[in-house]
């Protein structure tokens, strides 16, 4: 009988030990979960900001394309006029 009592006591103590281990683990678990949620939130905000930037950039790209066209026109002007004048001068000299 006393042998069984000892075993029961041992089990009880062991179960207590397990409970305290779980409690200790809970604390660490909460911190990790909190950290995971913080990271998740961080990525979500970052993604929202990137989305906003992508939308903003569409407008900027339009402005840059417009500027490209203006510059392209000016360069065409310059190049063609330059060729035209110089060739005309050459042809005049040849005549």
């Amino acid at each position: 009988m006393s042998n069984n009592d000892d075993k029961e006591k041992e089990i009880k103590e062991y179960e207590e030990e397990i409970k305290s281990l779980m409690a200790e683990n809970d604390k660490e678990m909460n911190e990790v979960i909190e950290s995971y949620r913080k990271i998740n939130e961080g990525y979500k905000n970052l993604n929202e900001e990137i989305d906003k930037t992508i939308n903003d950039f569409d407008k900027t790209a339009g402005e840059l394309d417009k500027m490209d066209q203006e510059a392209e026109k000016e360069l065409d002007d310059l190049i063609l006029e330059n060729i035209n004048e110089e060739v005309a001068e050459e042809e005049e000299e040849e005549e």
């Binding site: 961080g42 990525y43 970052l46 950039f57 840059l64 330059n82």
Partner: protein
């Protein structure tokens, strides 16, 4: 324009230029008005742009505008005129020499009372007439050269203005996005770091959960030892609780981690989407900058000072006559023979400055650097092909060392900020080694040279300029304090004239592009006066 004389483009292909809308719509009217030859050239020039995606066409057009082919349209005509100018200058020099000889002979005849000066007078008139004709011709060519140069420069100016406006606009518009991309990547890295740390803690928890599972097994064994059946053990509250706890915690951690993984994937896609949108424009901006770094050719044609050239010519002639007169007087002054002897000897030294072919002197310079200063060879070593290309000079052309020194310094300064003091020391040492034989001879002459304190000689030089060439005093006059500061020399230190000449030329070259021929003439004249 040899590049364009035989364009491959056929008339059918010409139509393609219009069809493919390579040329900006508003400019088509210019294109339509062009002659066939001009159209052919234009389509040959625009050929590469056909294959470019529309978004990148601006880079293609910028490349055209910065392509030497376009500048060549002007440069080739300018080069032709420059050659003509050089040829006329050469003839003018010959005429100048002939005139000098005539004057000298005339003087000689007059002195000895020999008749025949009248025919020399006729010859002098003829020379003057020829000179006048050459000068008129030169004026016309120079006007054409300058007109072409102005046109080229105007084209370059307009082209650069377009490029600058575009680059500035790109800079302004893209800067916030470059900054955002950088800050997004930084923030991403911050979350990655925190995730790594959290995952380590997650692993520790997993370790503990495994420990709990082991403990559950051990607990079941303890119950077994107590004689409990397996069925009864399965219903023990504590073991059930452990099992539920471990499974629950594992699931919770997995779900949290999985949710982050989804956001990370989204984040990767979004950053990549943003970069895909922004990067082509950033690349374009870089391409603009790269293209605009190409440089124009400088023909180094002396700028004409309108209305004053004739006066200069007259002054030159007067100087020649004066020189001849002076030479005559000097011959009569027996007591100045010693000084004159020295003067002539010095002239010989000037004349004796050795000449080397460009290729040879570059080779010698590189060898000198390799032997004496191998650590700076990468910085000061010269690639003969690039040098020839940049300077537009032929590798087999002969140069005086002083001329080569100047060219080399200009070339090195093109690519990097050279250490002025260092390069001057190298040059001095190199020149010494190069003309060692001549140096010894020079030393002998220099031994006889008079010495002057730096302050004194600067003063004399400035006075000489004020008296003789007041119009260029502003250009060639020397401020003694700046000179002393730049050269690191004391004003009361004594110097031989030749040494002073060298220092002064270096100093003047520091602040401006001096006219080498002019300054050499001034120096010769000044030295002559000084030694008298």
């Amino acid at each position: 324009m040899p590049n364009y004389e035989k364009p491959k483009t056929s008339p059918e292909e010409l139509k393609e230029v219009e069809k493919k809308e390579v040329i900006f719509y508003d400019n088509k009217s210019i294109f339509e008005k062009m002659s066939d030859k001009a159209k052919k050239i234009a389509s040959a020039v625009y050929e590469g742009v056909y294959q470019m995606p529309v978004a990148n066409r601006i880079v293609g057009k910028m490349e055209i505008a910065y392509n030497q082919k376009i500048i060549d349209i002007y440069d080739k005509k300018m080069a032709k005129r420059k050659n003509k100018l050089d040829a006329i200058d050469y003839c003018l020099n010959i005429l100048r020499q002939q005139r000098k000889n005539c004057l000298s002979s005339k003087k000689e005849l007059e002195k000895e009372g020999v008749p025949g000066t009248a025919s020399l007078e006729i010859q002098l008139k003829k020379i003057a007439q020829q000179k006048e004709e050459f000068l008129n011709k030169r004026d016309k060519i120079q006007t054409k050269f300058e007109a072409k140069e102005n046109k080229r420069d105007l084209f370059i100016e307009k082209r650069d203005a377009v490029a600058k406006k575009l680059i500035d606009y790109y800079e302004e518009k893209l800067k916030p996005y470059e900054q955002k991309l950088e800050s997004f990547n930084k923030e991403k890295a911050r979350w990655e770091q925190l995730l790594q740390e959290t995952e380590l803690r997650h692993q520790n928890i997993e370790q503990r959960l495994k420990e709990l599972e082991d403990k559950k097994t051990h607990l079941e064994e303890l119950y077994k030892k107590m004689g409990w059946s397996e069925r009864k053990i399965k219903h023990v509250e504590s073991t059930k609780e452990i099992e539920k706890y471990v499974a629950g915690k594992r699931k919770q951690l997995h779900l949290e981690r999985e949710s982050i993984e989804k956001e990370i994937l989204k984040n990767q896609k979004k950053i990549s989407k943003l970069e895909t949108k922004v990067n082509p424009y950033l690349d374009k901006k870089q391409a603009f900058i790269r293209v605009t770094e190409r440089q124009k050719i400088d023909y180094k044609v002396k700028k004409r000072e309108r209305g004053t050239r004739r006066e200069e010519e007259t002054r030159e002639e007067e100087t020649e006559e004066e020189e001849i007169r002076e030479e005559g007087i000097e011959e009569e002054e027996v007591e100045t023979e010693e000084k004159l002897g020295m003067e002539e000897e010095k002239e010989k030294v000037f004349e004796k400055e050795p000449e080397f072919a460009l290729k040879e002197v570059i080779n010698k310079w590189n060898n000198y650097l390799k032997e004496e200063h191998s650590d700076v060879f990468k910085t000061y070593g010269i690639d003969e092909l690039i040098f020839a290309k940049e300077s537009g000079l032929k590798l087999d052309k002969n140069f005086k060392i002083s001329e080569w020194n100047r060219l080399m310094k200009e070339y090195l300064n093109l690519y990097q900020q050279v250490d002025e003091e260092k390069i001057n020391n190298f040059i001095k040492d190199f020149n010494k080694k190069l003309s060692l034989g001549m140096e010894e001879e020079k030393e002998k002459v220099f031994e006889k040279e008079p010495e002057f304190a730096l302050k004194e000689v600067i003063n004399k030089w400035n006075n000489y300029l004020k008296e003789e060439h007041s119009d260029v005093f502003k250009t060639y006059g020397i401020d003694e304090l700046i000179f002393a500061k730049e050269s690191g020399l004391k004003l009361d230190k004594n110097f031989k004239i030749s040494e002073w000449n060298r220092l002064m030329k270096e100093y003047l070259n520091l602040y401006q592009q001096v006219d080498e021929e002019k300054i050499n003439n001034f120096i010769k004249d000044f030295n002559k006066k000084l030694s008298k």
